[in-house]
């Protein structure tokens, strides 16, 4: 991950070669829940081989924006475009990993079954999952370090391990765009490192990664671009340009959080330039 910046450059130079590349755009997207508005006129574009983090306070609309981009929530105004075509329902190339999975943990499925669900969508109703699918699922589980748990019932894993299994399922969906809602929340340091590795692997393959997070330092270090959101796009661009005290104050309000955060960013940004 130390070479994040370099990767981004080489990847964007070779954009045309990626088969798994897509361009996702939001044009003037607004979302209203009843009389309350969660998003107002969001316009943003996300290209291939790009990692973008969404930052903003609680209730800023990060989850809402990700759901809209995933085609799971129709915007009140505006449009989402995938490679120029309007997105009105979830599209096959776009993979969404929610903030909290409302999964029934007592459900009779094991880890391998859950990973394989990533393939179910691309198979027709009568076509059974093949040996190849199973082998791919095991490989995805191996990438997230969960292959040894393949036969364990999903509820018997720890929270972080469960999250890894859901990542394996997302990998198996082989999307062009990955939308992840707070993937770094509640995971330990090895899992964070694993996520960072996965992200850079996906980006090297030309895929787009858009994720919401509350960890400013980490976002500054690991993303090519940052979107500061508080109902509107407050600032957008390369981490160093965006993470200024003025922008952060405008987005997050109060001064209290800024002192430690700025110090951390300074450290984080310093690390990423080497």
């Amino acid at each position: 991950m130390k070479q994040a910046g370099k990767d981004a450059v080489s990847a964007s130079n070779t954009t045309g070669e990626f088969t798994s590349a897509a361009r996702l755009e939001a044009t003037g997207v607004s979302v209203h829940f009843g009389s309350r508005s969660a998003l107002e006129g969001i316009t943003a574009a996300f290209g291939p081989a790009e990692t973008v983090s969404l930052l903003g306070p609680n209730g800023a609309g990060k989850s809402t924006l990700l759901k809209v981009l995933a085609g799971m929530l129709p915007p009140s105004h505006g449009e989402v475009l995938l490679d120029g075509a309007p997105v009105r329902k979830p599209a096959p190339g776009v993979v969404y990993v929610p903030q909290r999975t409302g999964v029934d943990w007592t459900f009779p499925v094991n880890v391998l079954d859950v990973a394989l669900m990533g393939r179910a969508g691309s198979r027709s109703r009568l076509e059974p999952l093949s040996k190849q699918d199973r082998a791919d699922a095991m490989e995805a589980l191996e990438r997230v370090g969960m292959h040894r748990f393949a036969e364990v019932q999903i509820g018997q894993l720890s929270g972080g391990q469960q999250q890894r299994v859901f990542l394996a399922r997302a990998l198996l969906q082989s999307g062009k765009v990955y939308l992840l809602d707070e993937p770094f929340a509640g995971v330990d340091v090895p899992t964070q490192d694993l996520l960072i590795d996965l992200f850079s692997g996906l980006r090297r393959e030309g895929r787009t990664i858009i994720y919401a997070t509350h960890d400013l330092a980490q976002a500054a270090k690991c993303s090519d671009r940052i979107l500061l959101i508080n109902r509107r796009v407050m600032a957008e661009g390369h981490p160093q340009e965006v993470m200024t005290a003025t922008n952060l104050r405008a987005t997050f309000g109060g001064q209290a959080i800024l002192v430690p955060v700025e110090a951390e960013i300074a450290r984080g940004a310093g690390g990423s330039t080497t």
Binding site: P90, Y96, G102, V114, R134
Partner: protein, 324 residues
Amino acid sequence: MTSVLNWILDPLSRTFMQHAFVAIVLVGVICGVTGTFVTLRGLAFMGDALAHAIFPGVVIAFVLGRNFLIGALIAAVLVSLAIGAIGQSERLSNDTAIGVLFAGGFALGVALISAQRSYAKDLSSFLFGTILGVSRGDLLLTGAVGLGVLAVMALFRRELGLIAFDRTFAQAQGLNLWAYDQLFLLLLSLSIVISLQTVGNILVLAMLVTPAATARLLTDRLPRMAFLAAFMGAGSGVIGLYISYYGGISSGASVVLVATALFAIAYLFAPGTGVVTVRLARRLHYAHPERDAFDLDDSLQAPLSEPPYPEDRTTHSRGLPTAP
């Protein structure tokens, strides 16, 4: 030996018992499979409510002199659509919608039937079923509807399983949750309707929930659970009918009691999870700790970079690829 055989064969020589056996096996299998999804989705209350709320449909068909299955089917479809619609309301939970229709529908049925002359007898035959009065035509209709239900469930098993496990993911896969929920409610209604005659309004819930619950205690895999539930349902039906035949007990009650007994046995003695089995295993474990089967809690504590289990314990058993 011959007396045992006679004991087994005697009820089978009577036509009405043959019909009863076929009917209860059909009901056991269909309710077992439908019940698998009912229990996994926590829809037991919904099932009970549907069974009660279609009561007026049955009564109206009876009063009009039509086949009660038709009346029940129409009522079931109307009720499941109504629950779906009321449940959409921002202010009322699904549970509340179910409760309202449950009680209201049942009261309407009772009101209608109480206007009839043979009130008490009719009511009890609706509530507890009349398994010994299953005609050939009833069997054909039950079989046709039941096979249809099983076929549709087999066709949509992946989607139904996905929606039961993870609704958000299912939605992100582009599945129309509302349509699949309605489809499932319809399948559930049909399963209930064809069970009414055999086990009655009140006990059909047991056929939906109990065999599936027993099956869940015995396996951690969905397809196996559905098969086991079907098997448990049909098995309880057959054993229950014999007990009813020889013991002179109400057939519906007898079938449900057998299903409940099977559940109790699984709850106490299921390998690896039964209350008694686990105690016993723990005692053996303290006597011979080196014989411990893998202890998941320990392995979860282990750092992830290291293999949590000794090599041969997990993935090898099904011939899946393992890491070197």
